[in-house]
């Protein structure tokens, strides 16, 4: 019933704190035109457009995809807008893929973006809403106690978060599109950086970025005519769980492990650590890497930090994670999930440039959002499913 779908083209913007050189339209077109060029297509070739982004208060425009319809070449076509909080970039890619898998469209352009410099991202994230318990520690502070719980439960040493941040920022130096290019980053510079919400340090925290990511997804027929290698989608999955529920484990969310189990089952993965060559996962605070390694079945419960300490997740390690520099190096909130999915696709196409994992043929893209409650994942491969 499900048709094949492949990533034919990928494009992204140079991510930056403020892209003052482009409007929102300019930002999305920068990513979209690159994706179209990569796919060897023009705007006219696209059948449908699927847009994803996070809360519109970040830009101060309500439902901006309506205004961006012409900029995205969508006039006369179906235009769709997904919003699933932080996981939106990933779920948008999945919604777009489903249009091809259902045989409804042959070529779908999917774009995820955030131009959070236009409005005030911190304001939008911390907006005090009447009658709701105030976020005493702000958005980042919401996750800090959960990180502390992980450290307490696993017995992980303090420096694990530093190792992850160092790795991701060093990887970013090999990614020309990444926001942060910190040439002087070191273990000590991270360790000495200010504790924002103890146990999370400033240098272990994602930046706030303007950026966009786009992909052209195509059917089997379209993929077979592509002149460059494509990334075949082997599996997709989405799971959601409640915000406030007494049985929730915010450190190892069941939604995440259920989602991973589903995507692995569809992609024929029974041994994640053995069969997946590399991972792009959504790590906005460095401690999420060991937590997600466990949640995704790469390490057993309480041992994710050992993988980090052993260097397994380094670019030249046994299971490279966030070769692009990840969310820790670029975080246009609405786009971050799609960047993970797109970077996974670039890896199996052999087109990740300096941050390419040699011989990568199967990769996992992961996105999460909300209070660790929305999950979107896909597995892509160099070979057809």
């Amino acid at each position: 019933m499900k048709e094949q779908v492949a990533v034919i083209g990928v494009g992204q913007t140079k991510h930056q704190a403020t892209r003052g050189d482009v409007s929102m339209a300019g930002l999305v077109r920068e990513a979209a035109t690159r994706a179209l060029a990569d796919a060897g297509m023009t705007w006219a070739d696209i059948d449908a457009v699927v847009v994803g982004k996070a809360p519109d208060f970040f830009e101060g425009v309500m439902m901006p995809e309506l205004y961006l319809a012409d900029a995205l070449g969508a006039a006369g076509k179906p235009l769709f807008r997904v919003h699933t909080a932080g996981s939106v970039g990933g779920s948008t890619a999945i919604v777009a893929a489903q249009l091809v898998q259902a045989g409804i469209h042959e070529r779908v352009l999917t774009v995820a973006f955030e131009k959070q410099s236009e409005s005030e991202a911190m304001w939008a994230l911390s907006l005090p809403i009447p009658f709701q318990p105030p976020l005493h520690a702000g958005a980042g502070g919401y996750f800090a106690p959960h990180v502390r719980s992980y450290m307490d439960r696993s017995g992980a040493p303090d420096h694990i978060g530093i190792l992850v941040a160092l790795k991701d920022r060093q990887n970013a130096l090999k990614n020309p599109y990444a926001h942060l290019h910190e040439h002087d980053i070191s273990f000590d510079s991270i360790k000495d950086s200010m504790m924002l919400w103890d146990p999370i340090r400033y240098a272990e925290t994602c930046p706030s970025s303007d950026g966009a990511c786009a992909m052209v997804l195509g059917s089997e027929a379209v993929a077979q005519r592509a002149s460059k290698p494509v990334a075949w989608v082997h599996g997709t999955a989405m799971r959601s769980e409640p915000t406030m529920s007494a049985d929730r484990d915010t450190v190892l969310p069941r939604g995440g492990s259920d989602c991973a189990a589903a995507v692995y089952a569809e992609a024929g993965i029974s041994d994640p650590r053995g069969q997946i060559d590399c991972v792009e996962m959504y790590v906005p605070f460095s401690w999420f890497e060991p937590m997600w390694l466990e949640n995704l079945g790469f390490a057993s419960s309480g041992d994710g930090w050992r993988m980090v300490e052993e260097g397994a997740t380094q670019l030249d390690g046994d299971l490279p994670v966030n070769m692009s520099g990840g969310v820790l190096s670029s975080n246009p909130i609405g786009a971050s999930g799609m960047l993970r999915f797109a970077e996974a696709a670039l890896q199996v196409r052999g087109m990740a440039g300096e941050h390419q994992v040699e011989g990568a043929r199967t990769a996992l893209g992961h996105a999460y959002g909300g209070g660790s409650q929305f999950f979107a994942m896909w597995v892509v491969g160099a070979d057809k499913r």
């Binding site: 019933m1 499900k2 439902m63 205004y67 319809a69 235009l79 989405m238 799971r239 999950f375």
Partner: protein
């Protein structure tokens, strides 16, 4: 190969000017309970859940997140959300069902238009550089479109008033309608326009509302419902936002979506058109090629109740109800988004063996 998907249950809350006692979650829960009860399903029976809402309406970022707790998503569920009217959430669910992995889907949407200054809120949709700073309200924009119709010789103010009168009279039979009355066209025309050429009765009310629909595939639909409302075709298209870039007297995207949805493959008994302004109904009738024999907006349409983000899905629900209860054989439902009918969705529904 396209799977046959049907609407098998619909529920909505009575549309009100403002729900001041209950918050969005509390407002929505009875609607979800009712639609599941009508389908005979629990949340864990449902394969996929998709909702539509917008942050700008509620004045809260990530507003749909807290509402999800009212769905009872435990164990974790397959769920998605669109920042669009629930009609598009239904579209996403319909696509998901096509993949063949699940057989049922819950679609819901809700919106409180009362809390914020609705017309100012909607102005935030407009071009942020050239148009939004002028804060044009939705009524003025619709009036521009209505004036274009008059200037093109396609309609008169009396035509608008006739739609307004007919809609509110039909709404008398709709227990969920907010505005329902029976007054002659002359009474409507006697009032001064509020924004020339639109009068107050040509405009929709401001509404708080919620709606939910359950979709099921093939055999499952027949198991759960004696007369499912089959979705024979569904499509949506968008036009440029700029009012000067399109002919406001026609709805090209509606016509295109109707063609792609296979509307013209047969006659239609009933049409529910998401026309917040009476003038817009005339444009949509034309775009869909509806003849005079078609029963248009028997629910009263958006002129009787216009919960933003909900009115579109409600149109689909109203057509589906009439097919499920046997009073209609084939119907078309329409949903719109953006200023002056910028984006349009058309859904063709039919009873079994029609």
């Amino acid at each position: 190969m396209v799977r046959d998907i049907a609407v098998i249950a619909v529920a909505q809350m009575p549309n009100v000017r403002a729900e001041t006692a209950l918050n969005e979650v509390e407002m929505l829960m009875p609607v979800l309970a009712e639609v599941r009860a009508r389908a005979g399903l629990t949340q864990s029976d449902i394969g996929f859940t998709c909702s539509g809402s917008t942050d700008y309406l509620s004045g809260q970022a990530f507003s749909f997140v807290s509402t999800l707790d009212g769905v009872g998503p435990w164990p974790p569920i397959q769920e998605s959300h669109v920042e669009m009217d629930g009609a598009w959430a239904l579209y996403e669910a319909w696509v998901k069902l096509q993949l063949g992995e699940i057989d049922t889907a819950l679609v819901y949407c809700y919106g409180k238009s009362a809390p914020g200054p609705l017309h100012e809120v909607l102005s935030r949709q407009l071009d942020p550089y050239h148009v939004a700073p002028l804060w044009p309200d939705a009524i003025s924009l619709a009036a521009l479109q209505a004036k274009a119709l008059i200037d093109a010789g396609k309609a008169t103010e009396a035509d608008f008033a006739a739609v307004a009168a007919r809609s509110r009279k039909s709404a008398l039979d709709n227990p969920n309608a907010q505005l329902a009355w029976d007054r002659p066209v002359a009474d409507i025309l006697a009032k001064d326009p509020i924004v020339d050429p639109l009068r107050i009765d040509d405009c929709p009310p401001i509404t708080d509302g919620a709606c939910a629909v359950i979709l099921a595939a093939e055999t499952r639909a027949r198991e759960l419902c004696s007369r499912p409302a089959w979705i024979r075709g569904i499509d949506h298209r968008i036009e440029p936002m700029a009012l000067g870039a399109r002919d406001l007297t026609v709805s090209a995207s509606t016509a295109m979506a109707a063609e792609k949805a296979g509307l013209h493959g047969g006659a239609v008994d009933v049409a529910e058109l998401h026309a917040p302004f009476s003038s817009q109904e005339l444009i949509l009738r034309d775009a869909l090629g509806l003849g005079n024999q078609v029963d248009v907006n028997p629910s009263g349409g958006a002129l009787a109740a216009n919960p933003v983000m909900v009115a579109g899905l409600t149109r689909i629900g109203e057509v589906a109800q009439r097919i499920m209860d046997g009073s209609a054989s084939r119907g078309v439902a329409h949903a719109t988004s953006g200023p002056c009918l910028q984006q349009n969705l058309v859904c063709v529904l039919e009873g079994e063996g029609e």
